[in-house]
């Protein structure tokens, strides 16, 4: 073998690189997962600071801290884009997905380790473009993109002539490419690299959730890429896809965006479903109730998630029969979602519950996701959505499913796998303090928004009629409390790394049955020297 020596050198070189090469050139799923998690924490902190700035402005009627209402709009857009593309997605899919999917299915690494590296490193570049856009000329006389994360044309074409919009578009192109590469990697890994004996129907639910998510990414992100490319050419090369004066249609943007955007919101929550299933099962010391139902409920949610997009457009002027169809299709999603919620409760039923920090986050997730879910059932009805569309009721709804749902599941997964990933135990007290501050704070923030929305307060406004002042004050105070929780979270990380309390391979006992708990904490650089066999 002529290349034997070279192969040997490579093998040696790849054994365990150190220093900056270990990270920048990384092909190791655990290191890449760690980088994704750090990235998500950084981006999430930035996105969180933006939201606190918005709550400071909205605490009292009148313009306080934003001199220019357009700057407020820029914060709204940046907060949304950062939280969706640079916090939740990197944390769930890039972070926990990379870390845990290969471990859970007994694979030595991801199928395409170098592509995994590209997936990650596209993201800082993408984030840099988005952050740069904040300082570029946007709408006339101001900087940044102030069009919301939905980027509706023609506000993003004629309405925002500055180059900030082009930066944001290219940022989304890179983030989308990163996610598509990641999705290909996960699908290939999960289909081909499961340990001997692990059939799809024996695969842990988190791997199932990532598999469904990866398919949603693979099918929806190209649509976004196409749409933002059309936006780019409309802006720069004289095309008129979204310009009604020249044969285009602003509603085409909305259809394309939401054809991506609705699956996207399931992308943000499905991995959370997977994590919560493991946490609930582990801390109840019981197997997941109705495993197959749980797995196929996620598949059903993923499939139906593709045919409900226009429920975001009930006020856009689509025909009444179109609205009627989307009402029907949207309500159908409540059924598999209900299956999941009741199966989690049935998993706990008859169990032996240990209310450790990850379990608190999971319990918080189940209840708050239910609250966000049932307000979603209200919003699904086009007739009543007429009164709620674009009001704070919608803001309350999607923050209950995302800020209180997705984010709670991320924190649940964080504390659940923190000992596994770092080898250190977190402080139970700090973790629980973090939970209670976030739980109470986020509820105080978002629950009153239902009232504001019913009373008619439009979303994305920098100043509001004085009658809305009371509940806005309450919401702002709640957000400061939740932000204090974020600080406790960061403190908890520092605390764990200074205490250096070593974690055993399985700190959770008999309930933790997935493969990652058979490895040491942290797992060796190369997880499995011999493949595990599943009976």
């Amino acid at each position: 073998m002529a290349y034997g020596a070279q192969a040997h050198a490579d093998a040696h070189h790849n054994d365990h690189p150190t220093g900056w090469r270990r990270w920048v050139y990384s092909t190791n799923h655990k290191d890449i997962g760690t980088m994704y998690l750090i990235f998500a924490i950084v981006a999430g902190t930035i996105g969180g600071v933006l939201s606190i700035a918005m709550r400071l402005e909205l605490m009292n009627p009148g313009m306080q801290i934003f001199g220019d209402a357009e700057l407020f709009n820029v914060f709204v857009a940046a907060h949304g884009l950062i939280m969706v593309f640079f916090m939740v997605m990197p944390a769930m899919i890039g972070g926990f997905g990379n870390w845990m999917v290969p471990l859970m299915i007994g694979a030595p690494d991801m199928a395409f380790p170098r592509m995994n590296n590209v997936s990650f490193w596209l993201l800082p570049a993408s984030f840099a473009l988005l952050l740069m856009s904040l300082f570029m000329p946007g709408a006339p006389g101001s900087r940044g993109v102030g069009a919301g994360w939905t980027l509706y044309a023609p506000l993003t074409t004629k309405g925002t002539p500055g180059i900030a919009m082009d930066f944001a578009i290219l940022s989304l192109h890179l983030a989308g490419a990163s996610s598509i590469l990641g999705a290909i990697n996960f699908i290939t890994t999960i289909f081909n690299m499961r340990a001997p004996g692990m059939t799809l129907h024996k695969m842990p639910l988190f791997a199932w959730s990532i598999l469904v998510t990866a398919f949603l990414l693979l099918l929806s992100l190209p649509v976004l890429a196409g749409a933002i490319t059309m936006l780019l050419t409309d802006r720069n090369f004289g095309t008129a896809f979204f310009d009604s004066a020249h044969g285009g249609d602003p509603l085409l943007w909305q259809h394309l965006f939401w054809f991506f955007g609705h699956p996207e919101v399931y992308i943000l929550i499905l991995p959370g479903f997977g994590m919560v299933s493991h946490i609930v099962s582990t801390f109840s010391r019981k197997p997941v109730f109705g495993y197959l139902g749980m797995a196929y409920a996620m598949v059903a949610i993923g499939v139906i998630g593709f045919v409900v997009w226009a429920h975001h457009m009930y006020a856009a002027g689509i025909s009444v029969n179109t609205q009627a169809y989307f009402v029907f299709a949207t309500m159908v999603i409540a059924v598999p979602t209900g299956v999941k919620v009741f199966s989690w409760i049935a998993t706990m039923w008859g169990g032996s519950l240990s209310l450790r920090a990850p379990m608190l986050w999971a319990l918080g997730f189940i209840f708050l996701f239910t609250v966000g879910g049932v307000t979603g059932v209200v919003l699904a009805n086009a007739g009543v959505d007429r009164s709620m569309h674009d009001t704070y009721y919608v803001v309350a709804h999607f923050h209950y499913v995302l800020s209180l749902g997705a984010v709670f599941s991320i924190f649940g997964g964080w504390y659940y796998w923190f000992p596994k990933m770092t080898g250190y135990m977190y402080s139970e007290f700090t973790a629980k303090l973090h939970f209670w501050l976030m739980f109470i704070g986020a509820n105080i923030t978002f629950f009153p928004m239902h009232f504001l929305g019913l009373a008619g307060m439009p979303r994305r406004i920098a100043d509001y009629p004085d009658a809305y002042a009371g509940w806005n004050m309450v919401a702002s105070v709640g957000s400061y409390m939740a932000f204090a929780g974020m600080i406790v979270f960061l403190f908890g990380i520092a605390q764990a790394f200074t205490r250096k309390l070593h974690a055993p391979a399985n700190p959770w006992g008999a309930g933790a049955t997935t493969l990652e708990w058979t490895l040491s904490s942290p797992p060796p650089f190369h997880s499995y020297e011999t493949l595990p066999r599943i009976k």
Binding site: A69, E70, V76, G141, S142, G146, P154, L155, K158, G159, D243, S244, P250, P287, F289, G290, Y291, G293, A315, A316, V320, Q323, A324, V327, F328, A334, V335, G338, V339, I345, M348, W349, G350, G351, S352, L353, L363, F367, T370, V371, V374, V377, V378, A382, G383, V384, S387, D390, F451, A455, G456, M457, P458, R460, I461, D463, P465, A467, G470, G511
Partner: protein
């Protein structure tokens, strides 16, 4: 227990106070600490309100049911009180039940929901047609049958008169007769805006290049406020919508006065528009 009952009483009183507060508050605009919708001024908004109450009761019951189950398992199946977990992972009748029961609930919601949706689009023949055109950042109203066109801009805080709500008051209101079917054509000049009046139960995007229409039938006189409901740039928060609903006589008088004013100022475009109609 007594303390608990007293707390319940206090909360109950607070809640009814807040709810009542909204009922007695100024009509056609939000009021402080309001919990529900603004008071309906059209039959459609009444339908929306009663449908919303119906669905809200259902979802609150579901949410409380889930909460009760969670609290129950946390207490009953705590590791201290229940150290030995069962291994149950299947119960087919239960799984069928929690699939079928939600379907039945959804059907119960869907029937009135579709009735409401189709009622909103069951547009009666209009007694008056107006158009609302959104521009960054004001509305332009047109009464095509009467040759009236005017812009409607928000009144700045310094110029507000006593009792006029900040950010909701405009310099020129839309005036319509009470108990008449008013068709509103909605369009936009630059970006997407949205013409919405909460107490009428209408909200429709103003999309450049399209003329879309909605309708309302206000059943009492008064001033009704709304705000632009689609993000449209810098002053999105500052392009309110105000509709003044008046009696037939007042409306006729307003038409005369407005047409005369347009003639007096020698506004040729408005005269031309008026001429075309005659």
């Amino acid at each position: 227990m007594l303390i608990f009952k007293r707390m319940l009483l206090v909360f109950g009183a607070l809640f009814s106070f807040a709810a009542a507060g909204s009922a007695f508050a100024a009509d056609g605009q939000p009021s402080p600490w309001q919990l529900g919708f603004q008071k309906a001024a059209t039959p459609i908004m009444e339908q929306i309100t009663s449908f919303h109450t119906f669905v809200t009761v259902i979802i609150v019951v579901i949410a409380l049911f889930v909460l009760a189950l969670l609290v129950y398992v946390m207490v009953r199946f705590n590791e201290n009180s229940h150290p030995l977990p069962s291994r149950t992972a299947h119960n087919t009748p239960l799984e069928i039940a929690w699939t079928v029961v939600p379907i039945l609930i959804l059907v119960a919601i869907a029937i009135p929901s579709f009735r409401l949706l189709f009622a909103q689009y069951d547009m009666p023949s209009p007694d008056l047609t107006i158009t609302a055109t959104g521009s960054q950042w004001y509305w332009t109203y047109e009464y095509p049958d009467h040759g009236i066109t005017f812009d409607s801009l928000m009144v700045q805080e310094a110029d507000l008169k006593e009792g006029q709500p900040r950010l909701l008051t405009v310099d020129r209101e839309v005036v319509v007769p009470v108990n008449k079917n008013v068709q509103v054509g909605v369009k936009a000049n630059d970006v997407i805006h949205d013409w919405a009046v909460p107490s009428f139960g209408i909200k429709l995007d103003a999309v450049p290049g399209r003329l879309q229409s909605t309708w309302f039938r206000a059943e009492r006189t008064g001033v009704f406020h709304g705000q632009c409901s689609e993000l449209c740039g810098r002053n999105h928060a500052f392009m309110p919508i105000t509709v003044r609903v008046v009696t037939d006589e007042e409306f006729a008088a307003w038409l005369e006065k407005t047409k005369a004013a347009a003639n007096d100022t020698g506004d040729t475009s408005k005269l031309a528009a008026a001429g075309k109609q005659n």
